[in-house]
Amino acid sequence: MNTCSFLFRTSLGKKYIMALTGLGLVVFVVLHLLGNLQFFLGREAINRYGHFLHSTPELLWGSRLGLLALVGLHLWAAIRLSIENRAARPVGYDRNKPMGSTYASRTMLMSGLIIAFFAIYHLLHFTVQVPVVNLRGTDFRLLVDQAQRHDVYQMMVTGFENPAVTVFYLVGVGLLCLHLSHGVSSLFQSLGLRTGKYSPLIKRLGCVISVVLLIGYWSIPLSVLLGLKK
């Protein structure tokens, strides 16, 4: 146990936790997008995929608990580090002109906390399927397709037909991508993998991943809202 205590004790240890849990969550976000994009393959594809994910409860709940642990550790490290970082500068500057830093890098805590709230709403909306939060007056749990599977396709269409819900979704995903534009390249730095000739590549990686994720995640609600998918 002592071997790993530095992870929880030192500032660098907590950054390793941030980086590793962040990496796990980025992998999830990419896989989640790849799964969701089957929406464009039509009702049959996405419903089959939804059924497949729910078919093995052991794997489903194993993944869910794993994700919860990642989020929990990521949040814990973020809050601990933020408290320590604030304590490191009790008296601030009268004038403070940010130099060299990006907007995303200075607002990681705030964007992260808003994303956490968005994720809670998103789970209530599409996973727990609480009827009140979808603002459509439909109970998503009752949607069933011809093969008696849960009709994921219809749920996505109905869910994104409300402009307020869709705008919140777009903002949530936008903040996630802002968070990742700094987070992805930063996690390589924290793990000591950003040195020498890899440095420019890793700097760009964060931006590229963010833009790709943004286009991918925005494409689904926008296509519904613009009436391209019914």
Binding site: L12, Y16, R89, Y93, R95, G100, S190, G192, T195, S199
Partner: protein
């Protein structure tokens, strides 16, 4: 040129400080920022007031003693320049300039613009050295070192320990300083023996002194008068991980 200065005035460590406004008259654009402060102080003393205390030593940008946050940027924002090498021609007549000390828990203000940076000395004392047995002087070129490593070690060794990285960081983190020190020793053959103990001890001292963690914003690299690269922090993160996991 005439300028208005908004300067931090603080009697000692215990007393609360405040900003005071004063005039800098007949400043020659070729003066350095510190020379401008000398003029202001001389005028103050002639009028029977107390001069502003500020740190300075070599005044040629190599000692790392001057430590002023000028208009919200440590060393004033000219690339690769310390406050003593910052010239008044970068300002315009009639401008109001805010001058503050480094702000960090680990760098308490001693008086006015002077801060106590001995936390850096304690970090160095905890491991920032190479232990060498005394004896006959070794041949200078007896140990082969690749040009690439020698150059990178020299880039890291350019750190003058001024603390601008801490002052600019939103977390008042000393990572760039520690990274420069562990890299300049760790990249050379002579530094290998103590490489991993060194990094663990220095990071522990850094945490103990109350510096924050690295958020990889890059503010430190941007203000560093010696333009130490953020890549060295990657090296520090890598070495610390190895050092901590070493059996």
């Amino acid at each position: 040129m005439n300028l208005t200065l908004k300067i931090w005035r603080q009697k000692d460590r215990q007393t609360r400080g405040e900003f005071v406004t004063c005039q800098a008259r007949d400043i020659i654009p070729d003066m350095s920022f510190l020379e401008m402060l000398d003029v202001v102080n001389e005028d103050l003393m002639k009028a029977g007031h107390e001069a502003f205390a500020f740190d300075s030593d070599c005044r040629e940008g190599i000692c790392g003693t001057c430590s002023l946050v000028i208009n919200g940027i440590p060393h004033g924002g000219q690339k690769g320049t310390t406050a003593c090498q910052l010239h008044m021609r970068h300002f315009h007549d009639g401008q109001t300039i805010t001058v503050e000390p480094w702000r960090a828990q680990a760098f308490p203000v001693l008086r006015d613009l002077v801060v106590d940076r001995s936390a850096f000395d304690r970090i160095i004392a905890s491991g920032g050295f190479v232990s060498v047995n005394t004896g006959g002087a070794p041949d200078g070129n007896a140990i082969p070192i690749s040009k690439v490593d020698a150059d990178r070690a020299m880039d890291a060794a350019a750190c003058i320990g001024c603390g601008a990285c801490v002052a600019a960081c939103k977390n008042a983190s000393a990572m760039l300083f520690v990274a420069a020190k562990i890299s300049h020793l760790g990249l050379l053959p002579q530094g290998q023996t103590e490489r991993y103990q060194r990094v663990v001890k220095m990071v522990d001292t850094m945490d103990h002194e109350g510096f924050g963690a690295c958020s990889v914003t890059g503010a430190c690299e941007a203000v560093c008068p010696k333009q130490i690269s953020l890549d060295f922090i990657g090296q520090l993160n890598r070495d610390y991980l190895r050092g901590s996991l070493k059996p």
